[in-house]
Every structure is written in C-alpha cells, then in structure tokens.
C-alpha cells in the first residue's frame, strides 16, 4: 500500500506551499466474558487518509475513507479550497512555521503476538479468569476483557518527508461488582488503566492472571467497610490513582493549545499562563514530570507526532519548577515557547492537536514502607473511580474504589467510597514523599477526550506512589 500511496500522492500534489498525507490503517479486536458468558467478539478494520494543505497563509484539511487515487484527488481539492477560504482569517501566522520533512520509522515491541493464540484460546483465557471472580453470591457482576489494536500509520509530505509507524497495544480489563442491599462496591484491574504497547506478554507484565479472585475479595471487604471519614488527612495515592491525578491536574493544564485558548468552548482553558514557564513553582522540590515517548512498553510511545516532529524525552517540571509546555509545532510557534512533539490525531478523520502523550512522574527515593511509616494519620487510596475538575484544571474532586486508613505508620481500617478534593495550584506543593522504583508502575488509558471535533486518544502514564499532606477527604452518604 505504501508504494501505491506514494504514487497517488505524487500524482495529486497541487502547487501549494505545503501538502501532507496521513494514512491510518487500524485493525482491532475486542473479546469479553461477562458473568461467565462469552460476549460475541467484535473486530474492526478502519482505513482512511487525511490530506492537509497550507498555502499563502491559509490551511485546510479533508479526510476520506476512499483511499483510491480519485478519492485522494477529491480530498486534496477540498483541502485546497479550505486553505484558500481561510487565507487571511487564520488564528495562526502560518508564515512563521517551517513544516518538518521527517524521515524515519517506529514500531512497537511485541514479544507475543496477538495471533499467537487462537480466538478460542483467548476466549478460554478470559473465561478462566472470569470464573475465579465468583467466590460468593454477593458478587453480582464480573467481566474480563481484552482489546487488541494494531495501527499502521504513514505520513508523507510534499517536500519528501516519509514516516512509517506501526503501533500495537493491548487493553486488558477486569471488573468485579459486589452488592448487598443498596450497597454496591466494585474493584477493577488498575482502575481500567492498564493498557500498554506490546502483545499478549502485557498480561504477565501487569499481573492479569489470578487478579479476578483478589479483586472479588476486595469488593466484598468494601461491602462491609464503613464510609471514608470526612477529615483533613495525609493522602497516600497508589500509582493507579496517581496517573489520573497527574493526567487531570498536570497533563491537561500544560497543554499549550488550552493555554492559547483553542479549547475554551469545550475541554476548557488552563490556570497556567505563558509567563509561568521557567518561573512557576508547580509543586514541591520532589516533583519531576517528563514527557517520555521513549519507553517501549508505554501506551503513547512513538517516533514522530502527526505533524512529523521527532519525539524525545523532555522534562516538563523539574524539582517542582515548571519548564516546558505540552505543545506541538503550531502551538510552539504561536506561543514563542519550546515544546514537545505532541500534535496527535485520534484517527485519520480528525486533525492533529496538542495532546497528552506519555506523561510520567519520575521515581523518588521513598520505599513503600517508609511512606506508610511517615504517616501519623492518613489514608491510602487506590484505583480511580470518579473524576471531575474545573475547566481551568484547578478545582478537582476525585474518587477511588479502595480506601484504607493509616494510623501511626500502620495500614488499618478499610473504608468505602473514598473521595478527596483540592486545588491543583496548591495540591502539588504539598507533595511530601515520592516512591522509589519499586513502587513505580507503567499504566495507560485509551479515553482521553478533547478537541473540536472531539477526539479520544490513548495516553501513557507512569508513576510511583506518592504522599500529599493535608488533603480534604470524605466518603459516601
């Protein structure tokens, strides 16, 4: 297909300042077993192409599922018409932007291909794990699932740029629900956030096997637990809640297109302003945050973003000091700030915008035991359940599946419905311990939503466990 695409692209190239072709060919399959019954498998084959034209200060795109030469020709004509119409009306001064002409490739590392097990073997694998969830009648719902995605992406530019990327990832999931009366409690594998690049080896990496019965036991423990108290406590967050905290209150506020106002009608703005980069103390000195597309197992690793910028690890926050925004080529030019390669599109039919990619908190020095020992009165929370934050990404309220009180350096009572609330601008300054490599987990989500038109993209997050001082926590009613 690649050679054919290159030929078509050469044939349809219009006389414009810049033209690019972005082809995406994705095959995916979802398998699931719910309450010991296999849900019929679904597969999806999605192919299409986006043509982008920049000419005389105007920009336009057109995307189509018709990848024939005539389809591409029609698309490039539409894109060119949009570019002509938008001349002199763009919010971006396109003359200040030099489009890259990248050459390179990237491929996910896969040790055990999805196809190495037959369909029936994979359903059997899910059935075995599901069967382990039903340890008591109070377990009223349980589901195991796997979603495999293999996506080939080709990016060509009118000046000879050519990038090939093959991304493969696996999204495993387990959810167990326990009920008694009006009380229902659930536990999930990693708060639904265990996606990674790779093949079936991911299941071993994230501890998929044998987790069903453990989650069921924990859901039953939550059923008989008291509500989380309403109190100001030290808060120990496990990595499967840290990733959500990081995502919502560092990732989104640092997106440069939000800071520039593009998202104000939908996803929102940011409490971060352009003048804060290089001067603003975002968190305590223990806070080190990186954009890191180089970890092969992490969900949003890639070689180049969708504007052709090469991706490399960059510190966004170092020792608590805000340094670099999450902004791609266009936003960097608009803001006059250096950024990262994070212009990403969710598919062939949506244009690239600034996105969180892999966003990580670098490990610190505290062991798990040291963190618990350090807490006189506090609470451990695991696995995200609920999330809500204002449009400036400042006032947040998050809920977790699992809470456990900490008294005088010891984990004690399990509590249900644990929630906490805070303000991003002060919360991270109260970061008082960062876990070491032993507490560090690489996780990932597939449903980060943003953009007009809307786009849901995959994001990778890696984090150690962390302790925050003086957080308002509360429970259910």
């Amino acid at each position: 297909m690649q050679e054919r695409l290159k030929q078509y692209f050469q044939h349809i190239l219009p006389p414009v300042d810049f033209c690019s072709l972005r082809y995406v060919n994705t095959r995916s399959e979802k398998l699931s077993v719910r309450q010991n019954v296999a849900v019929p498998p679904t597969q999806r084959h999605d192919v299409g192409v986006m043509l982008t034209v920049i000419n005389k200060g105007g920009l336009g795109y057109a995307a189509t599922s018709d990848v024939s030469e005539s389809g591409l020709r029609q698309a490039v004509t539409q894109a060119r018409e949009w570019a002509q119409r938008s001349q002199g009306r763009m919010v971006i001064d396109l003359s200040s932007i030099v489009m890259p002409q990248p050459r390179g490739e990237y491929a996910s590392v896969v040790q055990q291909p999805w196809e190495s097990l037959s369909l029936s073997e994979k359903i059997e694998l899910l059935s075995r794990e599901a069967a382990q969830c039903t340890i008591q009648d109070k377990i009223v719902d349980w589901q195991t699932s796997l979603w495999n995605v293999q996506s080939e992406q080709i990016y060509l530019t009118s000046q000879g740029g050519e990038v090939n990327q093959l991304i493969q990832y696996l999204v495993p999931s387990i959810r167990v629900v326990a009920n008694e009366g009006v009380n229902t409690q659930s536990r999930t594998l990693g708060g639904h956030g265990c996606a990674r690049q790779g093949g079936l080896e991911v299941l071993d990496q994230i501890g998929f096997f044998g987790t069903g019965s453990k989650l069921a036991e924990e859901a039953l423990q939550l059923l008989i637990a008291p509500n989380c108290p309403t109190e100001c406590l030290d808060l120990l967050l496990a990595p499967d809640q840290m990733t959500l905290q990081l995502h919502e209150s560092i990732g989104h506020p640092l997106e440069l297109d939000r800071i520039l106002g593009d998202e104000r009608n939908y996803a929102g703005t940011s409490f971060v302003t352009l003048d804060m980069f290089g001067t603003y103390q975002y968190g305590s000195k223990l806070l080190n945050v990186t954009y890191d597309p180089t970890r092969p197992e992490e969900l949003a690793s890639y070689g180049f973003d969708d504007d052709g910028m090469p991706a490399k690890k960059t510190y966004l926050i170092r020792q608590g000091l805000l340094q670099t925004p999450l902004g791609g080529l266009f936003s960097q030019a608009r803001a006059g700030l250096a950024g990262v390669a994070n212009a990403r599109a969710c598919n062939w039919n949506r244009p690239p915008i600034d996105r969180i990619a892999n966003l990580n908190i670098e490990p610190g020095e505290s062991t798990w035991e040291e963190m618990i020992d350090s807490i006189k009165r506090g609470i451990l929370m695991r696995s995200n359940l609920s999330w809500s934050i204002d449009d400036s990404r400042n006032k947040f309220q998050f809920g977790c599946e699992w809470g456990q009180l900490i008294k005088n350096g010891k984990l004690t009572q399990v509590v249900k419905n644990p929630n906490y609330r805070g303000i991003s601008a002060t919360f991270w300054r109260n970061l008082k311990r960062v876990g070491n490599q032993e507490t560090y987990e690489v996780l990932g989500l597939t449903n980060c939503g943003k953009g007009e038109p809307n786009q849901a993209v995959r994001v990778g997050h890696a984090s150690p466990a962390c302790v925050f001082a003086n957080v308002d926590v509360f429970g259910g009613v």
């Binding site: 019954v37 296999a38 019929p40 498998p41 679904t42 597969q43 999806r44 084959h45 999605d46 192919v47 299409g48 920009l59 336009g60 795109y61 057109a62 995307a63 599922s65 018709d66 990848v67 024939s68 698309a75 949009w82 938008s86 009306r89 919010v91 971006i92 369909l119 359903i123 009223v140 719902d141 629900v177 009366g181 009006v182 229902t184 106002g261 593009d262 104000r264 009608n265 939908y266 598919n347 039919n349 244009p351 609920s386 809500s388 204002d390 449009d391 400036s392 006032k395 809920g399 419905n417 609330r421 303000i423 939503g449 007009e452 038109p453 809307n454 786009q455 849901a456 259910g476 009613v477």
Partner: protein
C-alpha cells in the same frame, strides 16, 4: 448513499450460506468542521466516512466485524466478501451465546431528509462577520448523517439527516464567558443574528466586576443546558436494565426503596418520536415512539437492549447496547421563563454545568462545576457574574425534595458531541429552580 448500501446488502444476500443469518448496520457522514478561536479560523476541514458493521449468525453462535467503505463498488464488494469469510472462519471458535436475540419480523422503514444546508465555506463568512469584535471560540459542524440497517430476512431501514450545530462561546476574560449554540436543519441568517444578539446581551453582564461566594447551600436556577448535564450523567447506566439487575444503576435506590422518589413534577421519557436519532437500532429492532423512564417522580421503566431482554426474559424496547437514552424528554413545569428571576429572588443563575461525575453512585450523588455564565441574583435582578464553584449533591435533592419547580417553556438541545461520529442525540428540557443546592469548593 441509500442505493449504494442496499446494493451492498444485495451482494450479502447472494453470498450467504443457507444456515447463516446476517445483520448489517451502516453509518456514514459527510461533515464540515470549522474550528474557531479569537474570531478567527483555527482548523477548517471536511470528513467523508462510511462504515459497515456485519454480524454473522449461525445457530446460536455469532460474531461481528466492521469495515470502512470506499464508495467504489468493486473495492467494497471485495472488502465485504473478505469480512464475511473472516467471520465465517471465526464462528466455529465462538461459544454458543445464550443471550443472542435478533428480530425475524420485518419492520422496514425509510426517512429520507432533504439537504437544505448551504455550503459551509459560505456559512463561515456569516459567522466571522457577526463575531469580529468579540473573543469568539467554538466549532461549526454540519452536513449529512446516514444510517442504514439490513438483515437476511429482508428488513431494510434508512435514515438520513442534514443538520448543523454551531457550538460557541463569547469570552470576556479568563473563564468568564457566555456559551450558546445555533443548531438546526436550515441556516437562516436572520435567526442566526437574533441568537447572536441574545448572547451579546448576556455577555454585557459579564463585564461587571465578578463576585466570589463561599461554599454553602444556595437557591439556584439551572438553565436547560445545566439540567441536560445532570440528566446526561444519569444516562451512564442509570436507566439500563442490565445495570439495574447487576445492582450498578445510579437510580437503584428508587428501584429498591419505594419511598425514594423524585418531585411529582418530574416525568422523563425516551422520546424517539420527537428526537432526531433513527427509530431503529443497530440490530434492527424498532424503538417505540416513547418509553416512560420516570413518571411523576416515580421510577417507571428501564431501557432494554435485545441482549438484556434475552438474558432476563423480558421484551426489548429497542435500546442500544449501552441501554442509554438518545432522545431525552423532561416534561415542562409551571414556572414561566419570564418569572424565573423573580421566583429565584436571591440566589444563583447557572447557565451551564461541567464535568459531572458520581461522588457516591449508590446514592446518586454527583459532583461537577459551574461553568460559563453563572450570575448572582438579588431581589430578582442579575447583579454580578460569579467565579466557578464545585457542587456535590444527590439527584434526590436536585430533582426531589429541593426542587421548587420546572419552567413552563423547554429548550430543544441537539448534542454537539463528535467523538468518531456526529451525535444524533437530543434532549427537550425545561430549566429547574432548586433550593439548598450544595456548593463545596
């Protein structure tokens, strides 16, 4: 597009083996998207996409696959044949499904809309001219949406719809803005200008010095867009029979405790007849004109997908797999819109809520933020814009004990979601006056 889809299904009919059944769902759109920021263009473009989902059934085994279509018959015939062969190869490996349910009674239908939309390239000049002196941000999404269904029993359904949705905000400073939408099926420059004039009037109030209030309980007016956010959260499994039977529905206290009710003025329907979504779902079941979800404050009926229907031995009402409503309808109340400020007297006028989620799902307790134009009202007059606040409140307070009244007039809201496809969901809703609304941060 309709003829093309039927041509493909004819091919499927010919390639089917005697023991096989197929269900086929087609979705396509020709969309224009123009993104704006600061009354200029950020990203303009067009998208043409066609997807076909095929479910192959043999006995009680079934499997499904989706493919993109190019619009070229020979290429698409090949894709379809390949998909059929792949599904056929998979079938023996798939366990028998005790919950398989498909309709064998043929209910064909056709709803062919006329395209009266102007070219988007022309509309955007109107938009830019009307917004030049403002900090205008948002998106125009418009064009045709096409949905089809076919099965091997001969059922054929078609639904086309040409609409547009300009979803936008006027910003004053920081997070002070008025949000609105101009949506419909025919672009009318005069109506558009009238809508803009209304928004600009509200925008002027934002220029007053903003006020900050302390957390606490307040008397509030929730405009229809804010009520929509609350009801939208309930669509996450609230009305689903599967969620109810697995004890996961956020409305289960209403189900299991007869004394737990909402205000008697709350009657909520899934009103397919008045919505803009197709009257058939992806498996070919036809939706009734209305399903009453809540009647006079009491829980009435769930939404039931074919799969759930088979599992629990109840009739399906044509719900989608997620069992979430797509054409919500909350009955009107008795408070005239013109009396809202007077009735509110002293409190908060909330135009929009944002980022709702459950803080205690079992108690249907939800949290979220005020967003866009939120005003402090005193003696029945808007006094000043307010800074954003977080709320945390149960539905049983919001639309139950603490509900003062719903407005007599309702708004028709066309959802502006464009994740993967342009949404055909809609809602017809009144505003709500509420006592003791809890703000926490």
């Amino acid at each position: 597009m309709q003829h093309y889809f039927y041509t493909l299904t004819d091919i499927l009919d010919r390639h089917l083996q005697p023991n096989e059944i197929y269900l086929c769902h087609f979705t396509a759109e020709q969309s224009d998207f123009i993104r704006f920021n600061r009354a200029k263009v950020r990203q303009p473009g067009s998208v043409e996409q066609r997807y076909l989902e095929l479910e192959l059934i043999d006995g009680s085994r079934h499997t499904s696959g989706q493919t993109t279509l190019t619009g070229h018959l020979e290429t698409d015939k090949d894709r379809l044949r390949r998909l059929l062969a792949e599904l056929r190869e998979q079938l023996p490996q798939v366990p028998e499904d005790p919950y398989l349910l498909y309709t064998q009674t043929v209910h064909s239908s056709e709803m062919v809309a006329k395209n009266t939309l102007p070219k988007a390239q022309e509309v955007f000049i109107d938009i830019l001219e009307e917004t030049q002196s403002y900090d205008f941000v948002g998106i125009y999404a418009g064009g045709g949406i096409f949905t089809g269904f076919a099965n091997s029993f001969g059922q054929r359904n078609w639904h086309s719809n040409y609409n547009f949705n300009l979803d936008f905000s006027f910003y004053h400073e920081k997070d002070k803005a008025v949000k609105s939408a101009y949506a419909g099926f025919q672009w009318d420059t005069k109506s558009f200008q009238d809508q803009m004039a209304r928004v600009k009037t509200q925008f002027e109030i934002l220029k007053r010095p903003s006020q900050t209030i302390a957390p606490g309980n307040y008397r509030v007016y929730l405009a229809p867009a804010a009520v929509h956010e609350i009801l939208h959260l309930l669509t996450w499994g609230g009305f689903s029979l599967k969620s109810q039977r697995t004890k996961d529905s956020s409305l289960r206290r209403m189900l299991e405790t007869p004394t737990q009710t909402l205000h008697p003025s709350v009657t909520l329907l899934e009103n397919t007849a008045e919505g803009i979504a197709p009257a058939f779902q992806a498996k070919g079941f036809v939706r009734p004109d209305q399903v009453t979800l809540i009647e006079q404050g009491r829980y009435h009926s769930p939404l039931v997908s074919p799969r759930t229907a088979k599992e629990y031995g109840v009739p399906t009402n044509g719900a989608n797999d997620e069992e979430s409503p797509v054409s919500l309808d909350l009955a009107a109340g008795s408070v005239p819109m013109t009396e809202v400020l007077k009735t509110l007297d002293k409190g908060i006028y909330i135009n929009n809520l944002w980022y709702l989620n459950y803080s205690d799902r079992a108690a249907c307790r939800m949290t979220g933020m005020t967003r866009f134009a939120t005003f402090w009202v005193d003696r029945g007059e808007i006094v000043a814009p307010l800074s954003v606040m977080r709320f945390d409140e149960t539905l049983y307070n919001l639309l139950g004990d603490h509900l003062i009244g719903l407005t007599k007039e309702r708004e028709f809201i066309m959802e502006s979601d464009t994740y993967e496809v342009r949404s055909a969901n809609s809602a017809r809703l009144p505003g709500a006056l509420v006592e003791g609304f809890t703000l926490t941060l």
